[in-house]
Symmetry: C2
Subunit: 308 residues, 2 copies
């Protein structure tokens, strides 16, 4: 009975340390170090190299180190007999709420534009928006989407929510899958917090942007492949979209040749909206590992048929 | 019985138009055009040239076009027999609340720093703050200060208030004049919303900054002369302050030679936090003009002994 950590970015050691300090009785291995394969019952992964799972005959559960699980579904060695879990971390939720709120206000008050003007010593007042002027539409009303919608609504923003199945949240007008167009036509600040599934891959494209009111703004904090980058640039350059704040990209770090870097209306952050901290996540993993060992139902289990 | 408009920035015509559309029965004159001086009973002013008031023997009231009145006190032709009013505009209040909130979040999430990194195509995650990590101290608990403190507190921020006379506001710990040091030692995001008086001129100086916890941040949205610019730069360069967002300057537009423009930790906005719109202010002026004419007490009158 042991846990295998699989991630390729060299950050495995801080995760191993978190296990050591919080649950030294649990055996943990870095997949790059020698380890007894037959002891592994849980794999804790982040954007793992594909094809490894089938080498572990006693593997029962693949746990994501974050809220996203798309990269597990994409791995052909993940199979239906394996359980899958994701992280639902109160700090991840707080961070996402606060990050999206920050981007909404920065957009309303034109802070990025003033920051650009500063580099030219340009003193120029620009038009701005008030809270009451905008309607924020959240795509994806899972744990992060619902919490962000609620936080913005509690602050007095007008908030809409769209999700596969209709949600009931006080103060928020919600739409279900078939009502996407109705949702889009009322939204002028679109926030993407969808899970990445075959249905949502490339959903942020020109056709979708064209259904928003002219001059809408995008805040994208979900997964890189939701967005068709060239469609966004075209929509901005035509004036259909007025700009975007993007935190996630299909390949990270974002290629220095990407046209996003130099676009004055696209504001890039380096996937920093909400980052799992080993300390806070490992506590959850330990709970689930103990539940797995004692054959209890797991927490934050992913429905592998729905894909989220 | 007539109103005289005095401002030097060439924006008088939109104010005259607002009077025409809202109260065409009231006579209004641009001070640069010929006008019958004995008819003037109210002067509506913004940073007026000094020395004019004594030419108007029937002048009874000088009304500021905005929330600030410091430039009226500075005019030697303003005398104690004149009444003084300022603007208390719900939109000014909303704008200030939202602008300060925007600057607080931009600081917490490091948005300016990411925007600078973007110009170098630099993908680098930086440390950030959560709402719970900061204590916002508001200097000046007048109409704008109190409303901003309340708005931030309602959003879950920890907020302190400091003012000449102690205020009672639910959810906010308040300090009176003599307790400035106690207020400062608990504040790590300092927001200046003081009125400009001889007492507060230059109050944002090295001695004050040194009483804040190391690495504090300044959001200055009051009046330019509150801040000793070189003291701020020194305090930032020594690490006592971690940066500042500044919206107001002793001379506006800010001189292109100012060292603020090129300082990476000072974020400049062009006095845009909260701007009186003629349409919304003229309605108040008309009410006060009618009260003046019928010898009723004026609204939003300034205590000319206290200076605010």
């Amino acid at each position: 009975m042991a846990i295998l950590l699989i991630r390729q970015d060299g950050k495995t050691s801080q995760w191993l340390n978190a296990f050591k300090s919080q649950a030294s009785q649990i055996e943990c291995f870095d997949y790059n170090e020698p380890h007894p394969k037959e002891t592994i019952t849980m794999a804790l992964v982040w954007k793992q190299p594909h094809g490894l799972f089938e080498q572990y005959k006693n593997l029962k559960c693949v746990a994501s180190m974050g809220a996203g699980v798309d990269f597990i579904f994409e791995d052909p060695s993940f199979h239906q007999e394996l359980l899958m879990t994701r992280v639902v971390d109160p700090l991840l939720i707080t961070d996402m709420e606060e990050f999206v709120t920050a981007q909404v206000y920065a957009y309303m008050k034109g802070l990025y534009q003033y920051h650009s003007q500063q580099s030219f010593s340009l003193w120029q007042q620009n038009p701005y928006l008030r809270k009451k002027d905008i309607t924020i539409g959240i795509m994806g009303m899972g744990v992060l989407g619902s919490a962000t919608a609620k936080a913005l609504s509690d602050q007095g923003f007008n908030v809409l929510g769209w999700s596969n199945s209709k949600k009931q949240i006080e103060g928020i007008t919600t739409y279900e899958k078939v009502d996407l167009d109705l949702f889009l036509e009322k939204t002028n600040v679109l926030v993407c917090l969808l899970p990445l599934t075959p249905d949502t891959n490339g959903i942020l494209n020109e056709s979708l942007f064209s259904k928003l009111p002219r001059g809408a703004y995008l805040i994208h904090v979900a997964r890189g492949p939701h967005l068709v980058g060239e469609d966004l640039i075209q929509s901005i350059d035509k004036g259909q979209m007025c700009g975007a704040a993007i935190d996630v990209f299909p390949t990270e770090p974002l290629d220095t040749k990407s046209p996003f870097w130099g676009h004055s209306k696209i504001h890039i952050t380096p996937h920093c909206a909400s980052i799992s901290s080993p300390e806070s996540v490992v506590a959850q993993i330990v709970v689930n590992y103990n539940r797995l060992t004692s054959h209890q139902p797991l927490l934050n289990q992913v429905d592998t048929l729905k894909g989220y």
